[in-house]
């Protein structure tokens, strides 16, 4: 089964990457290519929606890690939305991305992003 990647731009510098299928040794280079510079230049928040992702290996984790490093280098952030249990297990075993928040649904993530934006506005006003 191949990897499905849908990238969409959302307001306020949010880029959503919806992943489906398998993120493994054979497909991870496709994700690397989709997110390679300058793809993330105008993004402050990168969201990986993994609800439809069925399989991830260390090669796939590596791609997520690399993307997160690119975001951090530009003072941006990465969030993950909806992990299936077998995907969560892989993240848990290698304790990958301890500083990346994982949300179970859109509402939970939207609350978090609202909070971040309010905080940024407050800091801008003081």
């Amino acid at each position: 089964m191949p990897l499905d990647i849908q990238v969409s731009e959302q307001p306020a510098g949010i880029k959503k990457v919806v992943l489906g299928g398998r993120l493994d040794t054979l497909t991870a280079p496709e994700l690397d290519a989709a997110l390679a510079p300058p793809a993330l230049d105008n993004t402050n928040t990168l969201v990986f929606d993994m609800a439809e992702l069925e399989y991830i290996s260390s090669a796939g984790l590596r791609s997520i890690l690399v993307a997160n490093k690119l975001m951090k280098a530009n003072q941006g952030r990465t969030c993950i939305l909806s992990l299936q249990p077998q995907i969560r297990k892989v993240f848990d075993v290698v304790r990958a991305l301890p500083d990346v928040p994982v949300f179970q649904d859109d509402a939970e993530m939207d609350d978090y992003l609202d909070m971040i934006q309010r905080r940024a506005l407050d800091e801008g006003n003081t």
């Binding site: 040794t25 077998q86 892989v90 301890p98």
Partner: protein, 142 residues
Amino acid sequence: MTLFDTIRLENCHASLLAANTVIERYCSRYELDAATRQQLLLILEETLVNIINHGFDDSGKHYIELSIYHEPGNVVLRFKDDGRPFDPARQPMPTLGLPSQDAPVGGLGVYLMQQLAKTIRYQRSGKYNILTLLCSTRTRVP
């Protein structure tokens, strides 16, 4: 009844597709549950890709023999290759849980393999590595 599937794989990433097919077919035939199937596929990929990426000193063509079979309570994956001696069970644990800017981007595959396999047996036999990984299964052994 065949209890033993064996396939000879070239040392290139495309071999993963053929290897996955062998695992899928085996899991269907013995009606192994989804969790066991997922675990086998992951152990397979991490082990095979590690051998392909790091096992050989030259850039020539090599073959890796993969076998899958049952032992009571376990499904067993066995890899035989003529690469340099390498015992994954004896590799040091990577530093985990580092913030992303400090976390290394590689080295997680062998650790994942160590954690997912119930037992890893390694043996060097002549010029061959023989690596046997046990994966526990709740499905009744045929």
